[in-house]
Symmetry: C2
Subunit: 241 residues, 2 copies
DNA sequence: ACCTGAACACCGTTCAAGT
DNA sequence: ACCTGAACACCGTTCAAGT
């Protein structure tokens, strides 16, 4: 939206800008949590009065939409993903999945917003909320031989997988989120009424997130490969296990 | 917490009660959305001034915790789930999954709260947020022959599956959530830059939620069955497809 | 052109006062 | 014992006024 001011990127308080405001909001949420974000406080971060932000952002809700968009679009500049250069749809989905996971882990306080903000259209499914990414995904799939129906089904399944795993991983990562420090002396207090939980607690507390993610992703890819016409299925899948 | 007042269940404004307040909050969110919920308005629903609620509820955050707990615990009175009477772990997981789905669909405005509220302990994974359900699940799994590690892994995978599918299904179900009616004249406005999206749009808009859910649940059950010692695997799985 | 200040309506929350 | 009223600190947002 802002055409000018592009050359002023590094300096301190010169030129308020929609981009600068959204970026500051992302950093603020990363550091202080969503519930601490206030127009006044965000303005103070930018060395400006809170009301000045309304010149560039229609309101708080729109600001949060911008935050979600900015975080999701970070994947475009992720050198590991590389939209165009991929070795087949399996490789593409794996890169996309890992790119999303890096985003979620880089912005654990923002990700619940990515997950729950009402999408622009019913077929825009978090966490892949960008039309460009959806288009790119569907293109790769149909080029690989998936039918239109199958490509749509893969997109749905892939979205559900990413959303569930990443939201749980992020929420399990502490995410204190509380405005003040809670004592939390006895979170595992009276487990006496739950003997099996008590016995399995060490197994539950272990952080298997990365392994779980890889395994479930592999299983999903195996499963959706079955939607391809027989001869076009990748060879290396559905063999190992 | 409230010992008395149990016999007064039906009538109108007799006896404010923590239970009555939380139930009213659930109904309010179902009908008006979370963002409309205010202490003052909730008080008005109960024929009382907003500040009166603070006698029974420590604050708004605690009220929301109570809302999540109440909705999750609805499954205890779901006759289709039946904690004890199940025919093996597969049947048990299927009933649990369908019970959770009924809850999500019955309270689409509450479910994002179920999904994202920070859990009491890192191993409490939404949407199964109740110690009683987690204990019950782990008991059924270990009784069925899953090792402690495997039972914990199944619990994690099952939670991720439910969270992803149900959150997406609920969020795809319109969920206007907006305080005022939005015109939304052209949500599918300029799709011209996304030709594949445009072509697949009919396939994306079709509501395949129920079918997707059943299929992914089946696939998950197939997959986790492989964690069992060979001889204890159910026969009917891993055969059809 | 861009930011500031005062102002408005509305929150959550506390607490003394009513009955 | 239980609810009400006034009050406080803090929101988001608008708009006229400053420079």
């Amino acid at each position: 939206m802002a055409e000018r001011g592009e050359q002023v990127t590094g300096s301190g308080r010169a030129g308020l800008d929609q981009r600068r405001i959204i970026d500051a909001a992302v950093r603020f949420i990363d550091e202080n949590g969503l519930r601490m974000l206030t127009m006044q406080r965000l303005g103070a971060c930018l060395g400006v009065d809170g009301m000045a932000l309304y010149r560039y952002v229609p309101g708080r809700e729109a600001l949060l939409d911008g935050v979600v968009e900015a975080v999701v679009d970070e994947m475009f500049s992720d050198p590991e993903v590389h939209l165009r250069a991929h070795a087949g749809w399996v490789d593409y989905l794996q890169r996309l999945a890992h790119g999303q996971r890096r985003i979620a882990l880089a912005h654990p306080e923002v990700f619940p917003l990515v997950a729950t903000r009402p999408p622009a259209a019913p077929w825009v499914r978090p966490p892949l909320r960008s039309l460009r990414w959806i288009e790119s995904l569907l293109e790769v799939l149909t080029d690989a031989g998936f039918s239109d129906e199958s490509a749509a089904a893969v997109y749905r399944a892939f979205s559900s997988f990413l959303l569930g795993y990443l939201l749980l991983e992020v929420s399990a990562r502490g995410v204190v989120t509380g405005p003040v420090e809670e004592p939390d002396v006895a979170p595992t207090g009276d487990l006496s009424r739950y003997p099996i939980l008590q016995r399995l607690e060490p197994h539950l507390s272990v952080d298997a997130a990365a392994g779980d993610f890889e395994q479930a992703l592999e299983a999903l890819l195996d499963r959706v490969a079955l939607l391809l016409p027989r001869r076009r299925r990748p060879a290396r899948l559905t063999e190992e296990k």
